[in-house]
């Protein structure tokens, strides 16, 4: 029993000595790091997995009255502020980061067949965002085929500025 206590005591002393050594070395060396990280580390994550495609809506099939939908603009904020679909809400989509779970829960709470997403033509962020929301189990998510470009080319009205 006494021998076990000795082993544990020695282990404890070794850990204390090694930790002190590490702290001193970090303090002395150039390029040492702060004891507490100031900002979260940029952790690599896989791109969000889109296992389910959302339904595409062509402009010619889209009603003029979108009041039945909660319209989401997935483009960067600056693009949204410059011009967007009237009544749309800006939720910029980053295709290499999974969407925030709380945000998905809020969108789910709107109910099925309520979300209409549009993005930009090049990256097609509207399709990607709608696909991620569908993959997360939201029902009846749709996106505008061709994104905001198609909306403008169809001569639909736009507005600028507004709430994000």
């Amino acid at each position: 029993m006494r021998q076990v206590a000795y082993i544990i005591l020695r282990a404890f002393l070794l850990l204390i000595a090694a930790a002190a050594l590490g702290l001193v070395a970090n303090w002395v060396r150039p390029g040492g790091i702060a004891l507490v990280a100031g900002e979260p580390y940029e952790i690599y994550k896989d791109c969000p997995e889109i296992s389910k495609e959302a339904s595409a809506v062509k402009m010619e099939h889209l009603d003029a009255d979108l009041s039945a939908f909660s319209v989401i603009d997935s483009r960067p904020v600056n693009d949204f502020l410059a011009a967007h679909v009237p009544g749309a809400r800006s939720l910029p989509y980053d295709p290499i980061r999974p969407m925030d779970k709380d945000l998905i829960a809020k969108l789910r709470a709107l109910g099925p067949n309520r979300l209409l997403v549009y993005g930009d033509k090049e990256i097609d962020s509207g399709r990607l965002m709608a696909g991620e929301l569908s993959s997360a189990g939201l029902l009846g998510v749709r996106y505008i085929e061709g994104g905001f470009t198609a909306w403008v080319e169809a001569g639909r009205p736009t507005e600028s500025g507004g709430q994000q």
């Binding site: 590490g22 790091i33 702060a34 004891l35 990280a37 580390y41 952790i43």
Partner: protein, 155 residues
């Protein structure tokens, strides 16, 4: 245990603890050279709160070095083996949690995240084998083939 049996068991333990010591010193090398990269590896497990990530990145590699040296030298051998065993259990739990969450992360054991070495069941097996070695040293080695034995003989 007879002196002959003790010599045989401790003779087997000698290469085991040297290998463990070298492995842990080698593992500490990049962590000391690139503390920020090692911090990133720790953070990517998403287990420790951010406030503990850097302090772990700073102290853990030095613990590996100190304990690795004690095992090689045979000084406070069992205490060293106890720490290495504890560390390995801690690493295995962390890797097990990361695997259960399907985190596609690098082990961070011997090289930075960019170097690959993605965690897998093989990583757990590897640590398990080392853990068995540490347990053997802890329970069998009385340090007779090392500085512990030399100190006893000289007293």
């Amino acid at each position: 245990m007879s002196a002959r049996t003790g010599n045989i068991l401790c003779g087997i333990s000698l290469p085991v603890r040297v290998v463990l010591g070298v492995v842990f010193i080698a593992a500490a090398w990049y962590k000391i050279a690139e503390p920020h990269e090692f911090g990133l590896s720790i953070a990517s497990y998403e287990i420790l709160p951010l406030s503990l990530v850097n302090i772990t990145a700073i102290t853990l590699p030095w613990m590996e070095i100190v304990v690795g040296l004690t095992l090689i030298a045979g000084l406070w051998t069992r205490a060293g083996a106890l720490i290495i065993g504890g560390m390995l259990v801690m690493f295995m739990v962390a890797i097990g949690i990361a695997l259960s969450r399907d985190l596609p992360i690098s082990c961070g054991c011997f090289a930075s995240a960019e170097a690959g070495d993605e965690i897998s069941a093989a990583t757990l097996w590897r640590d398990g084998i080392w853990l068995a070695g540490a347990a053997y040293v802890l329970f069998v080695d009385d340090g007779r083939f090392g500085l512990d034995g030399w100190r006893k003989r000289s007293v």
